[in-house]
């Protein structure tokens, strides 16, 4: 756990002094990933550098696992926290291997163990170990170098990670993959992470909590969902944007809004005329055809009129089956792309789990906006 108590950092003195971090108070729970967000110059990097004592505090204190950082040997403190700097800063005279091995070597790991660790990290960061291990930093692209910077900070498996825009230079495709992989690993290892980013989307996706700063002050510290649904003031609302409703959809999962026992199920063995009657009686536009728990496709009244064919053949297949963990943004884009208002959610065994409709999603957005305007904090 990291606790910031009245943390202040002032650079310089007199008229020229700059208050980079202004009386900041918050706590990062053990095993939590907190993203720091805010415009350039708001003090994000300064806060990280205060945490590992690259800078000294002007006021306040920082407590790491119940110990004041001032009572911990500086070098020991830094070795216990991984640090990925904003500028990446790989050592050009060392190979990729040599760069990643820095902290393990400081900690006197044996070389076999280091070798395994380096390969493991390269693989995790989507870089082929045999290709990259013996290259020099100049032989890598900016995005690849940045991944090595992340590997270097993870190398000795520190419990705390300070990461300053670690994925900023990585192309969007690799970035998404690395974010996913990072989250997957974090789900297992549960490190305490402070993660600076400029990218709101990334902050929302990665953060258990988000801390938004303005001119050195911590303006709001909350879960991504709360920040999006209940921005504390104008500044935060502007920061998260008017499309924050859509952003929340990125956070919510299909399972949160799906209807688990939909009323429109039709067994595949049903006759077309019976199916039509069923839809008309219940005033349903759309029927989901299932056979032994597995969804086969969907039917509308129009499909069923004047036909006696088995409905299994008439049913149109769903363009895509949704899993309970797909986010609503993705679900909605499938709906828009295929012009279909209802989709089917299936579990791991492809058994029917429920249905989800555009109306359900819309209702979930409406709730978000109804919360705006009132200052709830």
């Amino acid at each position: 756990m990291i606790q910031y108590e009245n943390v202040t950092k002032i650079f310089g003195s007199g008229d020229k002094s700059v208050t980079a971090v202004d009386n900041v108070n918050f706590e990062v729970e053990k095993g939590e990933l907190v993203t720091l967000l805010g415009p350039s110059g708001c003090g994000k990097t300064t806060l990280l550098r205060l945490t590992n004592r690259l800078l000294s505090l002007t006021q306040g204190k920082i407590i790491v696992d119940d110990q004041n950082i001032m009572d911990i040997n500086r070098v020991k403190l830094r070795q216990s926290m991984g640090y990925a700097i904003q500028e990446v800063g790989l050592f050009p005279n060392k190979t990729i291997y040599g760069n990643i091995a820095i902290v393990p070597r400081l900690l006197k790991w044996d070389e076999d163990r280091i070798r395994d660790r380096v390969d493991e990290l390269l693989t995790m960061l989507q870089l082929e170990p045999d290709t990259f291990r013996d290259r020099y930093p100049v032989e890598l692209s900016g995005g690849q170098q940045q991944r090595i910077g992340v590997a270097r900070c993870l190398a000795a498996d520190p419990k705390i990670l300070l990461m300053d825009e670690p994925f900023g230079a990585i192309d969007p495709i690799n970035r998404v993959e690395i974010q996913d992989e990072f989250l997957r690993v974090q789900g297992k290892l549960k490190k305490t992470i402070i993660f600076v980013t400029h990218d709101l989307q990334e902050a929302i996706k990665m953060g258990d909590k988000i801390a938004i700063f303005q001119e050195g002050q911590l303006i709001q510290y909350d879960t991504p969902e709360t920040i999006l649904t209940n921005p504390k003031n104008e500044y935060i609302a502007d920061f998260v944007g008017t499309d924050r409703g859509l952003k929340v959809l990125g956070l919510r999962k299909a399972k949160d809004v799906m209807v688990e026992n939909p009323a429109n199920l039709i067994q595949a063995s049903t006759k077309a005329s019976d199916a039509l009657k069923f839809l008309q009686d219940k005033k349903l536009e759309h029927g989901t055809v299932v056979e032994k728990e597995k969804p086969i496709g969907y039917l509308t009244s129009a499909n069923l009129e004047e036909t006696e064919a088995p409905i299994k053949e008439i049913a149109e297949a769903y363009p895509k089956l949704i899993t309970p963990y797909d986010n609503l943004k993705d679900v909605m884009s499938v709906m828009l792309m295929y012009d279909i208002r209802v989709l089917c959610v299936v579990d791991e065994d492809n058994n029917m789990a429920g249905t989800i409709s555009l109306e359900d999603i819309q209702k979930s957005i409406m709730k978000i906006y109804s919360g705006t305007g009132e200052d709830k904090h």
Partner: protein, 222 residues
């Protein structure tokens, strides 16, 4: 005038004086490195101190060699070495300080700040950072300073023959007093060849010792 004849006739003496010249310069350079490189590194911690150290070295290098020998004479006489190799080597060490200190200082200073930051942030001690990052990156520029010092010292050592230090300057000094032109020219040629040879060797050393990752980077930038 038959310089070649002179060289052929005095092969043994030529070799002996060349050898003497080399070891005076080498010993001086070795001592100069032991003094200059650590000074160059230490002064990176304080800009003001650095400025005054470099200024002092600057003043030293502007003193003409004959004058410096004159200044050293009474001082080193106190330990009974007013003339000979001791004042010669002392002078060479002093002259070497500017190129060595200045290059070491500049090279360490020019290590990109994000690398220093990264090293500190990872928990590398100052010594470890120096050893693994700063010195390897600074070494080409430090060697360039040594190269300047070595070449300059070969010339100054020739003058030191006047205070009885020996070396190839002996040919020139003796040749002048005996009005022996072949001897003077032979001395001049040998000193020049030595300087060119050392310069080439140091250039090679500079290339060999540059870290591979840095070399690849330079090639890409061309």
């Amino acid at each position: 005038m038959d310089v070649w004849q002179f060289l052929a006739d005095n092969k043994k003496r030529c070799l002996a004086l060349t050898w003497e010249h080399i070891w005076i310069v080498s010993l001086a350079l070795f001592i100069a490195i032991l003094i200059g490189v650590p000074i160059g590194i230490v002064i990176t911690r304080n800009k003001k101190v650095a400025q005054s150290v470099i200024n002092t070295a600057n003043v030293l290098i502007t003193i003409p060699s004959i004058a410096l020998f004159g200044i050293l004479l009474p001082i080193l006489s106190l330990i009974g070495h007013g003339l000979g190799k001791v004042p010669a080597i002392t002078a060479l060490v002093l002259y070497s300080q500017l190129p060595i200190i200045r290059n070491t200082y500049t090279a360490i200073q020019n290590v990109p700040s994000e690398l220093v930051e990264a090293g500190r942030g990872l928990g590398m001690s100052r010594w470890r950072r120096l050893k693994e990052v700063e010195i390897p990156l600074a070494i080409p520029v430090i060697i360039a300073g040594l190269r300047t010092a070595a070449v300059m010292n070969i010339g100054i050592a020739a003058i030191a023959a006047y205070i009885g230090a020996g070396g190839l300057g002996v040919f020139i000094q003796e040749g002048i007093s005996r009005v022996h032109q072949e001897m003077i020219v032979a001395g001049a040629i040998l000193v020049s060849l030595l300087a060119i040879l050392v310069d080439g060797t140091m250039a090679l050393l500079e290339r060999l010792i540059t870290p591979k990752g840095v070399k690849i980077g330079r090639k890409q930038n061309q």
